[in-house]
């Protein structure tokens, strides 16, 4: 059945529309235009329904036939769920927002610097142009960056179904490799990242054989200094070295240390004892364990300097250099203004990229 017919177009012959050359397994296709329709469809499909957003994780699984959902519910034609809201307390990202749009948003980089710090490492620009941040968290790949960010900041996911809405904190949402607490019939509508408090610095470090590929190990760090610039609170979240993002509380081993003379040995030892890496073609478990500690040391140094206001949030070994324009200095991260929202312009034509002159 034809779902859409344009005018003034030339119809091509429907040659080669059989199974030849087709990689993904067959599925029933749904393209709801409203959230209500999406929820009704997902509710009717139950276990059979799978949400398709950017597709940068799901479509490879389909192409390799590692997944064969009976039905896909594509968010491509929705006209909602595409907002980024920046408030005095948090950044809320809706389901259709791409990694690249979130990464480029200066308000986001100022409010929650860890988002851009992590998003710089997410895949390649070409993948970030399609992949969604919420979808990446819902997919729950153990090597993905954003689940670690959500865990480290104490964020939460919002899920809706025909039966209502529920909110799930990061620790309860991320259950294991490719397993999140998304129930049949539910649509993940948004992820919310709380703003870090004052004198809090963050950093993200990872290593992959090729920048943009899945990391052999990676770590996000959040450090809060006291008024004398001694460590008051510290936490790390590791990726690629366990079944899901592994959060390690470092406050006990770092508290009271001066930011410019950190003794990181105990923190690194604790981290190496807390993770559970496995071996694959790219690295042995032992190498990953070693690497995680090295990356933690680097991230801690960047984060404490960030907290102390001695370096802008984007410094350190950010992989792709500064963004289109530098974000605000750390000390001025809280604008104290009312919530602002953005939606992509030119939605009908999919013009979701915000130009940065």
């Amino acid at each position: 059945m034809c779902r859409a017919v344009g005018s003034g177009t030339t119809a091509e012959s429907a040659s080669d529309t059989g199974d030849d050359g087709v990689k993904p397994p067959p599925f029933a296709y749904h393209a709801p235009r409203t959230e209500e329709e999406a929820l009704a469809t997902l509710g009717a499909l139950g276990e059979d329904g799978k949400v398709l957003a950017g597709g940068q994780s799901l479509i490879p699984l389909l192409n390799m036939r590692l997944a064969a959902p009976p039905a896909l519910v594509d968010l491509a034609r929705l006209e909602t769920l595409d907002r980024i809201a920046v408030t005095d307390t948090h950044v809320r990202v809706e389901a259709r927002v791409t990694h690249e749009r979130l990464r480029r948003d200066e308000r986001v980089a100022a409010a929650v610097p860890l988002l851009r710090q992590a998003l710089d490492w997410v895949a390649h620009p070409v993948i970030r142009n399609r992949g969604t941040s919420v979808g990446s968290i819902a997919h729950a790949d153990p090597a993905a960056e954003l689940p670690a960010v959500l865990a480290l900041l104490g964020g939460w996911m919002q899920l809706r179904s025909v039966e209502g809405e529920r909110t799930v904190e990061a620790g309860d949402y991320l259950l294991g490799p490719l397993e999140s607490d998304t129930r049949p019939g539910e649509l993940v509508v948004a992820a919310t990242f709380p703003r870090p408090g004052v004198r809090t610095g963050t950093a993200f470090e990872e290593l992959a054989r090729r920048h943009g590929d899945y990391a052999m190990a990676g770590v996000g760090v959040r450090v809060t200094l006291d008024a004398d610039h001694h460590v008051g609170d510290a936490s790390a979240a590791f990726i690629g070295v366990g079944g899901t993002a592994i959060q390690v509380e470092l406050t006990e081993v770092l508290r009271g240390q001066p930011y410019d003379a950190l003794d990181k040995a105990e923190a690194i030892g604790l981290a190496r004892a807390s993770i559970d890496p496995t071996a694959d073609i790219h690295a042995t478990a032992g190498y990953r364990r070693h690497l995680a500690g090295v990356l933690l040391g680097r991230a801690l140094e960047t984060a404490v300097r960030h907290a102390a206001g001695q370096a802008p949030p984007d410094s350190g070994s950010a992989p792709e250099g500064p963004g289109p324009t530098e974000s605000a200095a750390p000390g001025s991260a809280a604008p104290g203004s009312a919530a602002t929202e953005s939606a992509p312009t030119g939605h009908a034509s999919g013009g979701y990229r915000e130009e940065t002159a």
């Binding site: 529309t17 399609r130 979701y352």
Partner: protein, 194 residues
């Protein structure tokens, strides 16, 4: 030649198309409205190659790693093997066929790949060229490291990349001279013709 009987089956739910039922997809490709009736599982890469017969877009790994299938979607580079044609209904695609001028004059990025020996077997080249066009639209004056990062999503098994990186650098300079949008079809009359 097979399924053309696409109107035979009713949908199962609002907005739904049952498995095995074809859908009509209308997109603008290189400025020209095109349509074809295809299964919902048709990848954009196969839609371009098989249904629209635009075989300049190449298919390598088909799971998003190699970048050979890169095209521009509303001006932004994307993997055409990681999108279903039906998902991009109504939007604009630019492929490698949409870059050279009507008289055959190469686009500055294509010309630079030729000048700097940025290709050997040429299989990965359409993807590299499309990635470069998207990259240079964002980064008109990239330094060497930025070029390396910007092109890191594409694989080449022949060149060792040195020629490719040099080509992107040359193209950046040529495009800055003319001020042309790297994603637009080349217009020799606008200046910058080599």
């Amino acid at each position: 030649m097979s399924t053309t009987d696409h109107a035979a089956t009713a949908t199962t739910s609002p907005g739904g198309t049952p498995s095995g039922t074809d859908v009509e997809v209308v997109v603008t490709v290189n400025g020209v409205p095109r349509s074809a009736t295809v299964p919902a599982r048709r990848l954009l890469s196969d839609f371009l190659r098989h249904d629209l017969r635009l075989t300049g877009t190449h298919v390598g790994c088909e799971h998003g790693v190699c970048g050979a299938c890169t095209v521009l979607l509303d001006g932004a580079p994307v993997r055409s093997c990681l999108a279903f044609a039906v998902s991009i209904h109504g939007r604009e695609i630019t492929t490698i066929e949409g870059l050279a001028a009507d008289d055959g004059t190469l686009h500055p990025v294509q010309q630079a790949f030729q000048d700097e020996h940025g290709l050997q077997c040429g299989y990965c080249t359409p993807g590299f060229v499309m990635s470069a066009c998207g990259f240079l639209a964002d980064e008109p004056a990239p330094d060497d490291q930025t070029i390396r990062e910007g092109m890191s999503g594409n694989l080449c098994r022949c060149t060792g990349y040195a020629g490719i990186l040099a080509a992107v650098k040359q193209a950046a300079g040529a495009l800055r001279t003319t001020g042309a949008d790297p994603r637009a079809k080349h217009d020799p009359a606008a200046g910058g013709q080599r």
